[in-house]
């Protein structure tokens, strides 16, 4: 068993902190030898190469890589030691885009987006734009991390924010193994506080969804069944309620790639992803309806490409030059990590895609 690290790959100066090294690993070995097909060739079999965007539906903005947790599988390589934070100037550029976008969903993520000192200002301003679905991805423990965050449930409620939170399991052991000691108890407390202000209750318009991702080198089970199991256990054990569960596949990048290699699971895991490849999932993969914006304003096809520093293949590469029509006329950049989004029922920040 591997021990949970307490520092990011960047802080540890791991070679995997270099994105070109990650891309090299993903292109060599079993993919170079032809033992497994490259993603490009796989989607070409069904005439889906090059992958092209459809209508833009989701603007996902990463407010920074700083986080109060150091989760084992974090694809962002987030942690307390990461200092990359979106400035108010970049936020203002984002607000201009939010006011004019055709996207119906705004999705704020991190790190822990709440740790950005301008987070509340940004939420207040962004909520004025009248976006239909305004998501904040909250890791839950941040709500209990410090007194200054205790009122976050009320703040979210005030701005009708849709809260989406990670919860790897309904048991302490599996949760803390992946996310760190004490995370389970704090998460339970935070969920109870969200419930107390109305989040996640049956019929409530205050949406509370949970994200499940596997605790190790295996794929997620059926989303609907997992949701049923989560709901039963959290209700019976802690009187907690939530709306939907999104089952997300761990993508082989950053800390999860590091874990796969260290635990000698990389080849088997990639084989599992390729064997579970589903062309129907390619049809709805999230990079076809999402633009991901990094803390420093660069544009990406998805959050994963952002973490691999693969900027969009477009004349428009930065939020300051944002042009939705021009941006939508591009080829999506792919590599072998994309198999993570097309395995089984597919995977996206909104859960399964088929």
């Amino acid at each position: 068993m591997t021990k949970l690290k307490t520092q990011s790959l960047h802080k540890r100066e791991s070679e995997l902190a270099q994105t070109n090294r990650q891309l090299e690993i993903l292109s060599n070995g079993i993919f170079k030898s032809g033992e497994l097909p490259k993603f490009k060739d796989k989607i070409a079999e069904t005439g889906q190469f090059p992958l092209r965007p459809k209508k833009l539906e989701i603007l996902q903005i990463n407010l920074g890589y700083m986080c109060n947790q150091v989760c084992e599988h974090c694809h962002v390589d987030a942690g307390p030691d990461r200092k990359e934070i979106m400035t108010r100037e970049t936020m203002m550029q984002c607000l201009d885009v939010i006011k004019n976008t055709g996207a119906h969903t705004l999705d704020l993520t991190g790190g822990a987006p709440e740790m950005n000192p301008d987070f509340r200002w940004f939420v207040e301003e962004a909520s004025k734009a009248g976006i239909a679905d305004f998501i904040v991805r909250s890791n839950l423990t941040i709500i209990r991390a410090n007194k200054k965050y205790y009122d976050l449930p009320d703040f979210f409620k005030k701005h009708n924010v849709h809260v989406v939170s990670s919860m790897p399991h309904w048991t302490r052991g599996k949760t803390d193994k992946q996310r760190g000691d004490g995370v389970f108890d704090k998460s339970i407390k935070a969920l109870q506080e969200l419930n107390a202000v109305g989040y996640g209750m049956p019929g409530s318009s205050l949406r509370l969804d949970l994200v499940y991702n596997p605790s190790g080198a295996f794929l997620p089970g059926d989303q609907a069944t997992m949701e049923k199991d989560f709901k039963k256990a959290l209700k019976e054990d802690f009187d907690i309620q939530f709306h939907n569960l999104f089952a997300i596949t761990n993508l082989p990048i950053a800390r999860f790639l590091d874990y796969l290699i260290a635990s000698e699971n990389y080849e088997d895991y990639m084989t599992s992803l390729v064997e579970a490849y589903n062309p129907a999932a390619v049809e709805n993969v999230m990079c076809t309806n999402t633009i991901s914006i990094s803390w420093d304003g660069w544009l990406y096809d998805c959050d994963f490409n952002q973490m691999l520093e693969l900027k969009v293949d477009s004349k428009v590469k930065h939020i300051k030059d944002y042009n939705e029509d021009l941006l939508n006329d591009r080829n999506i950049i792919i590599s072998q990590h994309c198999y993570g989004c097309t395995a089984g029922a597919g995977s996206s920040c909104q859960g399964k895609v088929t």
């Binding site: 596997p214 295996f218 794929l219 089970g221 059926d222 069944t225």
Partner: protein, 111 residues
């Protein structure tokens, strides 16, 4: 022939058994898939039964497959180990209950 009787790679070749007997092989796999569908028992419960039986049958392929399968279904390691104990208890119980047969025989011959 390999130097080992078991090779993990052979698990992926399981479907090949249809090659030399297509009708029976296909019927088996159709049955197998149907058995594991959600029914009066949940697929999760069935996976745990399969894991326990995999151990009592001491089938390395099945242990490999159903350990992964139960993990994917969110089963905890405590639940997995308890399931194996159920299998072990039945195995040892099945041995020990035959002790009554031995006792009957002893009582008849030397009682």
């Amino acid at each position: 022939m390999n130097n080992n009787y078991y090779d993990p790679k052979d698990l992926k070749k399981f479907g090949d058994i249809t090659q030399w007997s297509e009708e029976l092989g296909t019927k088996f796999f159709d049955y197998y898939v149907k058995v594991f569908e959600e029914g009066a028992l949940t697929a999760r419960e069935k996976a745990l039964i399969a894991l326990a039986v995999a151990h009592t049958e001491q089938c390395p392929y099945c242990i490999d497959a159903y350990t992964k399968d139960t993990l994917q279904r969110g089963v905890t390691k405590e639940e997995m180990m308890e399931a194996i104990h159920v299998g072990a208890a039945i195995k040892s119980g099945a041995t020990l209950v035959h002790g009554v047969m031995m006792m009957n025989k002893v009582n008849k011959l030397d009682g």
